[in-house]
Symmetry: C3
Amino acid sequence: MRILILLTLAFASSGIWADDVAPATAESALSAVATLRDETNWLWTCIAGFLVFFMQAGFALVEAGFTRAKNTVNILMKNFMDFALGSLAYWLIGFAIMFGPQIISGIGFGSVSLADSLLIVDGKPDPSKFTFFIFQLVFAGTAATIVSGAMAERTKFVDYVIFSVLITAFVYPIFGSLAWSNLFNPDNKGYLVEAGFIDFAGSTVVHSVGGWAGLAGTIVLGPRIGKYQDGKVLPILGHNMTIAALGVFILWLGWFGFNPGSTTSVGGGTFAIIAVTTNFAAAAGAVSSMIVTWILFKKPDIGLTLNGALAGLVAITAPCANVSISSAIIIGLVGGVLVVFSVLFFDKIKVDDPVGAVSVHGVCGAWGTIAAGLFAEQAFGGVNGLFFGGGIDQLLVQLQGVGIGFVWAFGASLVIFLGLKFTIGLRVSEDEEIQGLDILEHGNEAYPISK
Amino acid sequence: MRILILLTLAFASSGIWADDVAPATAESALSAVATLRDETNWLWTCIAGFLVFFMQAGFALVEAGFTRAKNTVNILMKNFMDFALGSLAYWLIGFAIMFGPQIISGIGFGSVSLADSLLIVDGKPDPSKFTFFIFQLVFAGTAATIVSGAMAERTKFVDYVIFSVLITAFVYPIFGSLAWSNLFNPDNKGYLVEAGFIDFAGSTVVHSVGGWAGLAGTIVLGPRIGKYQDGKVLPILGHNMTIAALGVFILWLGWFGFNPGSTTSVGGGTFAIIAVTTNFAAAAGAVSSMIVTWILFKKPDIGLTLNGALAGLVAITAPCANVSISSAIIIGLVGGVLVVFSVLFFDKIKVDDPVGAVSVHGVCGAWGTIAAGLFAEQAFGGVNGLFFGGGIDQLLVQLQGVGIGFVWAFGASLVIFLGLKFTIGLRVSEDEEIQGLDILEHGNEAYPISK
Amino acid sequence: MRILILLTLAFASSGIWADDVAPATAESALSAVATLRDETNWLWTCIAGFLVFFMQAGFALVEAGFTRAKNTVNILMKNFMDFALGSLAYWLIGFAIMFGPQIISGIGFGSVSLADSLLIVDGKPDPSKFTFFIFQLVFAGTAATIVSGAMAERTKFVDYVIFSVLITAFVYPIFGSLAWSNLFNPDNKGYLVEAGFIDFAGSTVVHSVGGWAGLAGTIVLGPRIGKYQDGKVLPILGHNMTIAALGVFILWLGWFGFNPGSTTSVGGGTFAIIAVTTNFAAAAGAVSSMIVTWILFKKPDIGLTLNGALAGLVAITAPCANVSISSAIIIGLVGGVLVVFSVLFFDKIKVDDPVGAVSVHGVCGAWGTIAAGLFAEQAFGGVNGLFFGGGIDQLLVQLQGVGIGFVWAFGASLVIFLGLKFTIGLRVSEDEEIQGLDILEHGNEAYPISK
């Protein structure tokens, strides 16, 4: 403890305290403010990152709640390990691919991790870069964890573990570098950065990428036993709506880190505006999906209503910094409707996505990215989108980003999953699927009864 | 993303960065500090607001845990939708009623939402106002969600949805404007603001209002089938103490946003003092209710102990900024005792409140508001209350606020619930109540067993 | 509310606002920055403290999930009440012992008095001291709550209540004052402070102390009925892996307050570096324990994998501020392996610790404290540990701290538990243990089925 205090003193002395000794000047005061501003920005970014980390718990609960009790240990382990393994993979490889000046030159820096070569400056850890790194790390973890739900209840654990490493090391960061690579180093210009692509917090970069990877996975796997029989879609109900609802509350909370935190700065208070647009898209998504299910099924359905809020949140993620509250509500309302019909559509074409991850993250991520080209407003800090006199150019850029995101994430994941299928096998045996994955994959039960 | 960065630069240039170009002066340094202070205040208020938002999850879990499994989907949907719908209603109407300069003049501003006319200044979103708005919004959501528990297990979903909109649009903000309306605009002076009413974070404004609305609802509904038979009170046990306990932990956490965040400022570090008083009232409430149940029932009861912590939290909400730790402990101890006897009292007069919401929020909210007139101390930033040489004046003001709060919230809610009862009907059928609301209201079960 | 606003103005006027009136000088600007820096430090410390508070929920869920349904109310009540009672005890006695002016300097025993005597300065609450107090309070609560798991499923509730008071009032703060007493007042010099002991956030001070207290408790109690029969270790499975996993996610989140928040300052952004090392040790612990169970049991086990992440977190707590990411990963990897073999070892010697608390907190706390002497690096703000050219001196100091921590926490707790055993009795009756503690200790069930 003593040592840290000395360290803190040492750091602090570069800021305000040194000025107690040196004569006070306007320059030294401005420098002290600048130092505190940096530290406040890092603080906000880290706190936001902690909230985003907590989304891992939200995903785990939503996916566990929406699937059967016999596969719960498996779902929990997948959600737990994708972040643990993903952390290591992103540190070793992914971060440098996404933000490093050149991938190859990074390798020679004498470190086992490519990230270290970016984080350690003059032999010392750089707090601004560590801040950026932890924030980007939890984003990578989010993309990875989305896949878990779409492939639930029939995937071998070892395959999911391998894919988690590959998506955080390669699939996610390669597209991320196209769209966001100037964030760390202004000289890095990904293709979509140059084009002016708006994806503020990652409707496409994080959510669609995760969703399309899940789509590839569920297609390669095929549907669960008993889901589609005699031309009918048979419901396979999740086992616990209480934890699913808790999961959605946690995700909503986490999104207050995800979107507002993507400012990585307190400058201008933009984070507050984003918090509001984020909240209203979520609220609107919940309302519209509830109404749609009420009309379609005569009763307000809990599962789709919960997914409606997530649909609104995913959709507002790209445009959150550039739209008004009214636009955020429209974006959320459309997301909430879209997710219901998307879930019904994928069931119709027999793509079995147990938790609706492809619809929520893939489809609504695409919608949100397009919406940025429609609803962005100069008054809210963006270019003008189509509906605010901005012409069709921005919309075309958005469509381009959506298209490249789909081709890359779906394509790369398809290759990986096919590779796994034809080598170690991707799907558990029929017996295991019927008995549940918990016993045979883990030797555990989620809810044992022990006397 | 690029656009946001440009935006951030633009905002920031009004603060410190512009001074790199302009000559450094003491004035520019002071202005840079003032800008960072504003941003830090907004940051704290937003983070506190996120914690208050998370209380929605806490309420959902407490209410679900304290009621039966057959009504769990219904409780979850109520807690989820009251915030979603309440957000929209508060934006459309409630916020402008509570804080707008005049209600009527606000309507003409060419926006579908009354709030927008207060939030957008010179055609641009004002971050200080967005910050204030999101913080007030989550408070309105809290008042709404309290009602859900008191009316659990027998209310039609559609009625609850309608009431959620009405409380956030009208019932809550009208009383709120009496007590807090100077917060947004110093020229707005609600009657209780003028009188010097102390309700720092809303023991009355939020909690009692929610509690008394719930009391009106449960009286109009009547007790659940089987609760009172042959002059006896029969226990109807909740189905999951684990999630109820988790809910209380989440609420306790959320209260660290609710009370300390009501400073909406880091100035003077008052938030830290409030965090301490808040924690000690909660701890004391848990301890005293545990002891009372241990004496009454010979065993320490979990349900009432959990409610005891909430009682302490509700009670400290009004006086939290103006009392010492010792006083906070006394306020919490009394709250913890009060809630046990209040729960027993309401059962005695056959007012069936399944989760104790009226006792926790209504009764202990009143107690806390009165306690502010007893325990406030100048040394802790308040006037002196009765026990610290302050005379009876402040106490009378507190009693007036409690009284007006009761008359308004109970009266207005009674009118609404009676109106609903005699039009579309407020209570589900006897058959539905016995079978559980989940199937007939939602077509869902909370814990399905699917093979 | 009005009163608080006046208060805020009054406080604020000592900072920036007064300078609007006084002539702007470089000194006044520097003073304004210094005020805002203080407030920002307090804000960060309080927010971190809120996250640490939330760890109480994490511990409650982990312990409830890893034990049987018939003892769930008991576990929840223990986890709830140890913080409530611990708050009061730490305020009444513990805080002053830990940080008060030392009666016997060196040995570490401060004044026995109300915390108030340290918190109220010149008749007014000091926000910097309130900030420090709430942060230390939630740490004391953590040490107390660890014990609950080790003694689960067979301890009388009243004994646990008494022990909770004693550990927060005496056991924890006396060792804490040896290691950390200088934090509040630089003139306080505990023996280990003088020796240069590194335990940044409490691998030993908090976790080992809690773990060794639990070890004493479980030894005095003896194993649960049916755990060790005919030379075999029979599994007694926990009842809910979903809530256990949620508990670990919450603990991981809370640790972002525990370790980074122990800076109690934003100065230099050290918190960001600590957030990264903390995360990587957790991730590495989860990975290595998963791999070890996969090898040992042929399947990746959920319970030990979850404990592996906790092992990594406990281990990094001492060295988190002074090691590189690579070292953090090694420390976590070792922790994850260690916890598995430690759990097997304690079962082998028939020490029955239902949730693995002794292994996670005691053993891995010791490992982490030793690791600080091995992996600390000057570049990361520490002295150099053995592996970075630092010689054996620091390692010997670390071993000394580990040893004193064990002797004190185990010894003092053993005395207390033996005292309780031979007076009021420590263990429930055989009948009660078989029937479950919930009914006989609390008159409650965790999961009642009410029609």
